[in-house]
Symmetry: C2
Subunit: 165 residues, 2 copies
DNA sequence: ACTTTATGGTCTACAATTTAGACTATGTCT
DNA sequence: AGACATAGTCTAAATTGTAGACCATAAAGT
């Protein structure tokens, strides 16, 4: 736990540095997080972790991704040195993607996250159900200011769409 | 390292289960990852890790987020039981957000990721520079099929915009 | 011989998400 | 009175992402 605290402190130091300089001096942590926190990157890395795969294989494996995003995600990960790209001069040329050493090294911390997701999933699931079936804004609105429908609605839209597929 | 391997295996099992059932039976891991992997959630949790904060404080702390996204992210995290929301009936009512126990528990695995980002940042940075100044598609194109500008361009657009702020 | 299939992408049109910023209501400070 | 702060919400505009047609080539199926 002490390590968690120190990481938080380190992060918060970066954050405030960032806030002061206003410029492009940015938190390496945020920089990296922005990259791997973009919906497809983690999925991609985890998928490539089992074995190197080709473009079309990946397209089939990571369901829901468009070719465009697949291309872009792969390109970005390659740029950051997390994955490698190998072109085989077969007749319809085939391209194999795989994790680089750097990419491999990301697996360890990623595993911690996966474990957490796996262990705590039921808690999250329960919390979600509780929230959704709540007597609603009872607690939310002591002060009844202008109430309205709000089309944010806990982005259940997105959740639904995700489930629909 | 063995733990990393087992996590990868667990993930890949979920993935293939998912591929078969076609339906909405989804990988808890992906479900959770989709939530915390959405650009603002991790930032939010890390920011709240230092201390509970109010809406406007968060808006100032997490630079670049719009109020709309702030509201939505907070709502989603609350729904998932990761953060708590407390309304104080002061006259312009103030609302304080903080990490729940579940949210706290996420700090540990998150710290592993932060550490990784911190240690490997220079590697990534170097890889990026190398890639950007590369003799380009030398290795990329043995087979010179239809070449074109491609407006994906490693999404340097986004990178630039991010830096510009 | 002709059609289908597969390869790795790219491109376009459209759909979804996200941002910027105006606006709300009420109370304190100047 | 006017400015500022509180927590959001709403709208319009910009950005991002998806679906799917398309490219050239070759092998396999019929």
């Amino acid at each position: 736990m002490s390590s968690a605290i120190s990481a938080v402190e380190r992060f918060s130091r970066y954050q405030s540095d960032d806030a002061q300089s206003e410029g492009s001096a940015h938190c390496p942590v945020r920089d990296v997080l922005d990259r791997i926190g973009d919906k497809w990157s983690i999925l991609m890395i985890m998928t490539l972790a089992t074995r190197p795969q080709r473009f079309s294989e990946l397209h089939r494996a990571v369901r829901g991704i468009s070719k465009r995003m697949l291309t872009q995600t792969l390109r970005d990960l390659e740029r950051d040195g997390l994955i490698t790209r190998h072109v085989f001069p077969t007749k319809p040329p085939s391209v194999e993607y795989g994790l680089s050493a750097l990419g491999q090294s990301l697996l360890e911390p990623m595993a911690a996250l996966i474990d957490w997701a796996d262990h705590r999933y039921s808690d999250i699931h329960d919390a979600r159900a509780r929230f959704d079936s709540a007597p609603c804004d009872a607690a939310r609105h002591e002060t009844d200011v202008h109430r309205s429908a709000m089309n944010i609605a806990t982005s259940r839209k997105a959740a639904t769409r995700r489930a629909r597929q």
